[in-house]
């Protein structure tokens, strides 16, 4: 393992959106078995340092590739495409209208403590996320980097909303 290798190379899988998650997990464990600091608890400081660096790197790579959102972002990054999460807020009007509606619904649902509508909102959001993941996979395959970046920004937006729904669930729960 070389610290200069990219995440896909570290795991020995092709650099594409469609990854075999089971293979990824198996490789992850193989790698950690070799480099994890627990293997070097009685080792010299130099080796403990190397082990920590490598184990940290393996964790970072695994975390990035495991989630489809960060995996897509990483593929764009490898192509030198900046998804412009902070600076580019331009999104299709239709998408934005939908999200504003969702947000309003969320507020109402929370105010009313309506558990069933919250669950419905959550699953409706999940459906849209899945659709967008399908779209970004096609765009990445077709090397439409710019289009993919737009989809990624939308996905990021939806993730925030999904987190808020999760928090609302937690709030109603306790």
């Amino acid at each position: 393992m070389n610290l200069d290798e990219n995440h896909f190379q570290i795991f020995g899988v092709p650099a594409q959106f469609d990854v075999d998650l089971l293979a990824l997990e198996t490789r992850y464990r193989e790698l950690q078995r070799e480099v994890h600091p627990d293997r070097f608890a009685s080792a010299s400081q130099a080796e403990q340092r190397v082990s920590m660096q490598l184990a940290t790197r393996v964790n970072e790579a695994y975390q990035t590739l495991k989630s489809p959102l960060t995996r897509a972002g990483y593929l764009l990054q490898l192509r030198g495409v900046d998804p412009e999460f902070e600076t580019n807020t331009a999104m299709p009007v239709e998408f934005l209208t939908d999200q504003m509606e969702r947000r309003e619904t969320l507020e109402q649902v929370v105010a009313a403590g309506d558990w069933e509508r919250l669950i419905a909102l959550s699953s409706n959001l999940r459906t849209e996320q899945d659709a967008l993941f399908g779209r970004i996979e096609r765009q990445l395959e077709a090397r439409d980097w710019k289009e993919a970046a737009t989809t990624l920004r939308q996905l990021k937006f939806l993730e925030k909303l999904s987190d808020e729904i999760g928090e609302a669930e937690e709030g109603m729960d306790s």
Binding site: M1, N2, G12, T26, R27, R29, E30, L31, Q32, R33, E34, V35, H36, P37, D38, R39, F40, A41, S42, A43, S44, Q45, A46, E47, V50, S51, M52, L54, A55, T56, N59, E60, Y62, Q63, G166, E169, E170, D173, S174
Partner: protein
């Protein structure tokens, strides 16, 4: 030096090379030490055949400290100098201490960690804990007839950086080589999982004397992977005692009590609580210091009613952990109960209701953590044989963040990230010619810095003077396998390594630990210098052997020049071994370390490539 002695599967060190390693459960109420004996983890007993050491330390005017049952017996007579449940104060300021009003201690509100004024002087919780650890170390060394090579000390999974650091410092102060801080529920999972060859998703519900943890783990093919953890670092059996104590005081119409009576009634309340686990009614009777007689009855129903809110406090963290793991109650195959407080029937019932299954109680909830720690200690000390080739992947329990504009905390490392983990963040200067900046690191889930725990304030100095916004300071936050944070910084445009002045809000600096070691009477007696010298000699010998083996095994990975340089350092090290200054040996070891750094990395590469080649696929 494990990297330079990667042994093939099936090989394990010869029995005479076995290194003595122990697992220590440093509990709020009781502490234990365990070790591996003939492949089985066992708790080491004291002379009276007792495994549990009450975590109680009594200080005397002459500086002496007595630990355990002897201290426990006198606690009501000398409450101010007899420290119980010191774990609650680890890494905590006075304002964080719950029930301070019911504590008989003379607290000293010092910056960072609270301290206690005793007959033997002002003591920090780190020092008090180190007395407990010293007692366990002595027990282990006597029982195993030899010096310990290392110890694994367990901590609540929900302990933050300050509490972990304090625990590690206590270990160092007790003269222990702390191999790892291990999370208590994870330790329990190891003991349970290996015992039962468990596979699947397990929850560990750990309600101890002063802390509550819930961990969700995935056990599969020898890998223990913590998926999420949550808890409450200030909730435990102690709180049930306190609740009952207040009820008794109210019931008996007592006014403000002297410290002796408070302690006496707390002890009686605890006994009643324990009695109510198997009985429907308990009686609390005592003679108070003024001569008054107290006699109160409490039913199991009363007790359960008054403590129901405490039980309820465990449920929200449990749900959160499941949610963070992305799992549902139905995914959980078993719930392992850990900690003496889980014996209470209404706790058992609440857990059963939440997880919709009867919890697992087949391991002694008081001992399972120490046993798991012993198994891990044995592995970390390098006594690993074939068959126990398992891997532990744990997480950071609380998010790490930094203070940004307006007193807001910006998350740098999210909670439940698998350890070790690092994140780099870029900062810039906001004034022309600015050469220093300060960074405030906090831990917690809340948005406001004021609601999170302050871990450290860092000052970066030596930033090259540039126009505002031109400097790029890259700050790296690294959390190691103990869950401890280290910070480093570098100015990226010029490559200047900015100096960092670390001002830990909690925890001790290395210099403070050294000073405490020196001050410690105990160590003056067994001669610190000689100990340290012997340790370095052993380390040096180990190093020589390991590097020589490695050079034999992988000679193709070193160039002739490199080999020459390494041999020169090895010879130098060999010569220092007979000297009497440990620092000389230490620096020779460090030089060998530096000379073999590249080689170590290449050996690691080779090991990884071997792993990737699928050599071990069948065993996964």
């Amino acid at each position: 030096m494990a990297l330079l002695q990667i042994s093939e599967p099936g090989q394990s060190p010869a029995p005479h090379e076995r290194r003595l390693a122990v697992g220590i459960d440093l509990g709020t109420t009781n502490s234990l030490v365990a070790t591996m004996r003939n492949g089985i983890a066992v708790v080491l007993d004291d002379h009276d055949g007792q495994g549990l050491l009450p975590s109680i330390v009594r200080y005397f005017r002459d500086g002496r400290a007595v630990v355990g049952r002897d201290a426990e017996r006198e606690q009501a007579r000398d409450p101010k100098n007899t420290i119980v449940s010191v774990k609650r104060f680890m890494g905590r300021g006075l304002k964080d201490v719950t029930h301070a009003e019911n504590s008989p201690y003379d607290f000293v509100d010092s910056p960072g960690m609270v301290q206690l004024r005793t007959a033997a002087g002002v003591k920090s919780p780190v020092e008090v804990s180190s007395e407990i650890l010293k007692a366990l170390r002595a027990r282990a060394e006597e029982s195993l007839s030899g010096d310990l090579a290392g110890a694994v000390i367990t901590v609540p999974a929900y302990f933050d950086d300050a509490q972990r650091q304090a625990t590690k410092d206590a270990g160092k102060l007790a003269g222990l080589n702390v191999l790892r801080l291990l999370n208590e529920p994870t330790a329990a999972a190891i003991a349970y999982g290996l015992d039962n060859a468990a596979e699947g998703i397990y929850a560990v519900f750990d309600l101890g004397g002063g802390t509550f943890d819930i961990s969700i783990l995935k056990l599969s093919k020898g890998v223990f992977e913590v998926m999420a953890t949550n808890g409450d670092a200030a909730l435990g059996g102690d709180d049930f005692d306190q609740r009952l104590f207040r009820w008794v005081v109210e019931r008996a119409g007592l006014a403000l009590l002297p410290a002796e009576d408070t302690r006496l009634l707390l002890v009686k309340s605890r006994a009643a609580k324990e009695f109510l686990t198997a009985h429907l009614e308990a009686r609390i009777s005592a003679t108070l210091s003024g001569g008054a007689e107290l006699d109160v009855s409490v039913t199991q129903k009363d007790f359960q009613e008054m403590t129901r809110p405490l039980v309820a406090k465990t449920l929200a963290p449990a749900r959160k952990a499941l949610r963070d793991a992305g799992l549902d109650v139905a995914d959980v195959k078993g719930v392992v109960m850990v900690g003496g407080a889980t014996r209470m029937p209404h706790v058992q019932q609440a857990v059963a209701e939440l997880f919709r299954q009867a919890p697992l109680n087949n391991l002694d909830p008081d001992k399972v953590v120490a046993l798991g720690a012993a198994i891990q200690a044995d592995v970390l000390a390098g006594n690993r044989g074939s068959g126990d080739d398992w891997l532990l992947l744990d997480v950071i329990p609380l998010s790490l963040g930094i203070e940004t504009m307006g007193g807001l905390a910006e998350k740098v490392i999210p909670r439940n990230s698998t350890l070790p983990v690092a994140r780099a963040q870029e900062f810039t200067t906001f004034k022309d010619g600015q050469t220093a900046m300060s960074i405030h690191v906090v831990q917690g889930e809340r948005e406001l810095v004021a609601d999170c725990r302050s871990l450290a304030k860092f000052e970066l100095h030596g930033i090259p003077p540039m126009a505002a916004g031109a400097a790029r300071i890259r700050v790296t936050f690294q959390v190691d396998a103990d869950g401890l944070l280290a910070v480093s910084a570098r100015e990226s445009t010029t490559g200047v390594q900015a100096a960092i002045a670390v001002k830990p809000s909690y925890g001790l600096t290395d210099a403070q630990v050294t000073q405490m070691l020196r001050d410690s009477l105990d160590h003056a007696r067994d001669d610190v210098q000689l100990r340290v010298l012997r340790e370095q000699q052993v380390e040096g010998e180990r190093m020589l052997e390991a590097v020589e083996n490695a050079l034999r095994e992988d000679s193709d990975l070193v160039s002739p020049e490199e080999q020459g340089a390494v041999h020169a350092e090895l010879d130098a090290l060999r010569k220092t071994l007979s000297c009497t200054d440990h620092r000389t040996i230490k620096s020779a070891i460090e030089r060998v370390n530096r000379a073999t750094e590249g080689f170590a990395g290449r050996r690691m590469d080779r090991a990884v490539k071997r792993a990737l080649a699928g050599r071990k696929v069948e065993s996964l």
